[in-house]
């Protein structure tokens, strides 16, 4: 299911916890699995759960709780726009509206070419830079405006 490299990464996370507490590494393991497989299919979650010797439902609880885990396939670039209070006050809705119009999709949708997925995010702890958006869970873009959003999209083309 997962490559030896990914398993090695998971092992490194597992080693951070006592041997009887392998499930403590579930968040890291799910992240590593998602990075490799693109999203978390039920089989992927079950594989991770078995690997960490925990019930699959317990891993699913974690995977479904945090919205950076994707339980359905996403496009090559996942744009997560924060719509919590600070970002909204700073204009997140106009940025999100612009992205929706430009890409022709709503939140939780993927462009027909499979390139972009738009998601609504929760506070990312960078309110000072609001409005913010995340690209593929790793790249944070702050102080967004429709123009800045266009620039990022162009970069990802």
């Amino acid at each position: 299911m997962l490559s030896p490299a990914a398993l090695q990464q998971i092992d490194r996370e597992v080693a951070k916890y006592p041997p009887q507490r392998k499930e403590s590494a579930v968040m890291s393991a799910l992240r590593i699995a998602q990075t490799e497989r693109g999203w978390l299919a039920p089989e992927t979650i079950e594989f991770v759960a078995n690997y960490l010797e925990m019930p699959p439902i317990a891993a699913f609880e974690v995977a479904s709780f945090y919205n950076m885990y994707d339980l359905s396939p996403v496009g090559r670039y996942k744009l997560t726009v924060c719509t919590n209070l600070s970002c909204t006050l700073m204009g997140a809705e106009s940025v999100a509206g612009h992205l929706k119009q430009k890409l022709g999709i709503g939140f939780n949708e993927t462009t027909p070419d499979g390139k972009f997925t738009l998601k609504e995010g929760e506070c990312m702890g960078a309110c000072g830079d609001g409005p913010v958006a995340l690209v593929n869970n790793v790249r944070m873009c702050g102080k967004l405006t429709p123009a800045e959003a266009d620039r990022i999209l162009a970069e990802l083309e």
């Binding site: 039920p42 079950e46 019930p55 699959p56 439902i57 317990a58 699913f60 609880e61 479904s64 709780f65």
Partner: protein, 788 residues
Amino acid sequence: MAQIEIDGKQVTVADGSTIIEAAEAAGVYIPRFCFHKKLSIAANCRMCLVEVEKAGKPLPACATPVIEGMKIFTHSEKAVQAQKSVMEFLLINHPLDCPICDQGGECQLQDLAVGYGGVSSRYQEEKRVVFNKDFGPLIAGDMTRCIQCTRCVRFGQEIAGQMEMGMAHRGEHSEITTFVGRAVASELSGNMIDLCPVGALTSKPFRYSARTWELTRRPAVAPHDGLGSNVALQVKQNRVYRVLPRDNDAVNECWLSDRDRFSYEGLYSEDRLNKPMIKEGGQWRECEWKDALEYAANSLNLIRQEVGAEQLGALASPSSTVEELYLLKKLMTGLGSGNVDHRLRHSDFSADAYRQGAPWLGRSVASLQELDRVLLIGSSLRSEQPLLAQRLRQAVKRGAHLNVVHVADDALLCRVAHKLIVAPDALAQALAQVVKALGERAAVDAEVQPLLAGIEVSETARSIAASLTTGENRSVLLGNVAQHHPRYALLHRLAQEAARLSGAAFGVLGEAANSVGAYLAGALPAPGGLNAGQMLATPRKAYILLGVELERDSYNGQQAMAAMQGAFVVALTAYKHRAHEFADVLLPIAAFAENAGTYVNTEGVAQSFRAAVAPRGEARPAWKVLRVLGNLFELDGFSQDNAEALTSEALGNTPLADKLGNALRPGMNLVLDKPDGGRLQRIGEVGIYQTDSLVRRAASLQKMSAAPRAWMHNSLLAQLGLSEDETVTVRQGDAAIQLSAACDDTLPAGCVRVAAGHEQTALLGGLFDEIRVEKSKGQQQTAEHTPS
């Protein structure tokens, strides 16, 4: 101890107790949903908020420990306001579907909404909807009704030992679900229905069939495993609609296994025998009781006079009551035959002459939880005694070491310290290793010592021995597989020695509801009489069968059926089953719930019960049938008016505890033979939902029961040139059946696991005897059987 005040009442409670426990002690009720005395504290429903002096905000009573001098107000304005607000929030997303909800009338949310809620809701917006999931044949889910108390989740984690339910998603989207919609598989799953405070999880077999206020509660004792769980039968118009647990901390606590909970469906099977029947000239006809009884009595008498009483045999089910078994024995004694037995699934009776008491658990059921060290021998405990497995799970959680010597490595859903998994014919060897390892610390009994010569002690056996010599409370327990094993006497003696050497209590787990009671009632061969094995190996001319379904209840169904051919058979049975193929008289008897009587559980506690409903059709309680038979034979002592009179006659006046005992008298001729590696052996333990006639006919439980397959290690599959899922021919003796091959790498080498008790496997041979497996030539799906 802490002195506190609840609603102005002074109460002294133990340090560290929570407010909710203190209130209970003071007789003050605090509303709650997520709190349950047997589960961990979650404090997520917030219903139990109370006011505490000097605390700024209301505190959850279930999660707040008391401190000296604490003043608690459960009905103050602040507390009531908090409770009312919580109730308003809980009801925001709860549907108003009480009229069509099965929980209606026994719903905690309904009750507490009346007690603590407002008159109307201020919520005008759309309610959320949660799509229903299929939790399997036993639990119906209406998850929109769920209030996320997580009792079912915690039950899975803490009691059932497997987390099957979980709370997925977050906030308003959170919902209770299984992993990708899987069915709940736990053998204790029905308890989630009881735990659910609302109508989210309800009983599927009971669904929409009755309202709780129409039902009458009648106490009874569960008729399956040796625990004798206390149950309440819910009855309407002479029909059992539902079975619920009755709280009894000494037996089943507040739990019930699914087998005990849902087996009542079997009472209403199409296969019930409703009228007495006689076979005349190969044709069955229904008849009057009088005719059937006279025909049976006359024929038995004739056979007795012609060929002698020793040609009569009586075989009884260990699920029969003490009274029935006692009368059966008395009847046989009166007829001059000592051939009586209830141990149909046993194959080794050589310890009989050395037994000193009725085999029992060796300690109280409740004390299993306090064990520190356990050696479990030959037991698939989860299917044999689901709730005893739960008790041991709690002990392990406390830190107990559970050591296992068994023929299959089934998950016990708790940490197993050390295990020796060996083929059935090596089971005694494995146990001898443990005894020998224990012997390195203390002197082994002279009787057992010679057996240990040449035994090589493995590292695991040494670890088990080391584990058993530490800790305070220890038990050595013998399970059903050990009891059915062809070398049971030897296993028993070795286990007894292991217990003696380690200072552990020695226990034999009662196989059925009345296994201990059957010993006490004397349903055993009289001196010189034949035991169950002998009665079937050397066929008698006539048999009386009491509640047994011989083909599925015997050690060797094939042999049992052969013995019935040509014999005159009087079957007292609640079901027709295959008896119509071999019996001559069928007498319909009352089943569970229709019968008064007594069961003695594996701890040696006698529990009597009354009939809750009238028997189906013309069926009569078996003790009454036996009494009439006794009178027809003009025997003395068959004039009891009621079951109670019989109970005291059967069990006598001496305390039952004096009659219990597992230790064998010295002098047994013991031989420990080397495992014979050449042949394939069957591992034929009885499936969890195949133990007795009633459960085999409980439709919903049967949906939970997997079809039997031929399980083996992948090396054996390869050796036989078979592939997984392929249909193979499995042979024992003259029988050949088609099963699908399956791979289980935890099984010992040279073994084929074919579950017993199923209709498909009924006519195979001995449970732990030789078995052959080969590629199927044709692809015929039906079982072929060639009687000898």
